[in-house]
Symmetry: C2
DNA sequence: CACCAATCGTTAGTGGGACAAACGTTTATG
DNA sequence: CATAAACGTTTGTCCCACTAACGATTGGTG
């Protein structure tokens, strides 16, 4: 096999013009590249991106219930169960019933979890740098800004209080 | 249920600062919004995004084998089988054995397929417009440019000829 | 206080997307 | 002619987003 069996789904020879510059497609492709990149990087540290999200949330706001973590990280509470399980297995987090509200579990960051978080912080920083390699500082700012605005706009769906 | 059972995974109250501006996360979120938006829109027309990709490829370059379509659209050849099945069911495409190379199937766009493509073209255009609503023309250009460069950069992986 | 609604953690399941592996068939090449 | 490669297909894996339902618990209202 000279040419890789299937190339990394990058941009191919004769991609239809209509697809080539479709914004939603560009977003998907870029996100896919980003996901593969950070996914592979985090796998190095026996972690997935949700692990990082939970650890970061715990450090920044202290112990929390799973429901709270779900809101803070955007992880569905259904999926959070598995994430907490994995983190608990690795000793990065502790799950204990909440004495004051027995419906809840209190999730606490352990010392080992804090170490892991520090590790992931530096790892993530270098991965983001790889990801944005072709862009200079100003362009990185621009991209972050544009994406943030897109997201903010589309987050306003079915809003009620 | 006053507040939706689970909000659309948009940006939540107290998202950790570290996550808030992480480029890979912004990309994923924006892509997710985009995917949901166009996915829902295309569902209206009983289509998925890969349908559009295949139809566009066929119209722009004429009848092709599945392998060729795979290269042009970036769909894995394994997954393309189902896409072609769906398009064939709907009569948008015809699958016939290639007389000159009996390993291949020749996929041909039908009249009905061309109609559907036209429909999807206008539909897609309006969806892209919804997606980019918060950005002006110059910013849309910028975004497309930045994403294109990111993608181009990361497509160069394991290159050999 | 009794009742009902809401919240929480959890299990199970759906559907899409990206991808690997293997297989039978067919074509190209040394 | 033998072997390698290409093609279409099936099957299966992994991750992500999301829905539905349940048992246990708590809070609010009449």
């Amino acid at each position: 096999m000279t040419t890789s069996d299937m190339r990394h789904h990058g941009d191919d020879p004769a991609t239809p013009a209509r697809l080539r510059r479709t914004p939603s497609r560009l977003l998907s492709l870029a996100a896919a590249h980003a996901d593969r990149l950070v996914g592979a990087g985090l796998a190095t540290a026996d972690a997935r991106k949700w692990h990082y999200a939970v650890l970061a949330a715990l450090q920044e706001s202290g112990p929390a219930s799973q429901a709270t973590l779900s809101r803070r990280t955007g992880i569905y509470r259904s999926d959070l169960v598995a994430v907490i399980n994995e983190l608990a297995e690795r000793g990065h987090v502790e799950r204990a019933p909440d004495a004051t509200d027995r419906r809840r579990n209190v999730i606490t960051l352990t010392g080992k979890g804090r170490d892991q978080l520090n590790h992931l912080d530096t790892l993530l920083a270098s991965l983001q740098d790889d990801l944005l390699a072709p862009l200079d500082a100003a362009e990185r700012e621009q991209l972050a800004d544009l994406l943030t605005r897109l997201i903010a706009h589309h987050s306003r769906t079915t809003d009620d209080t």
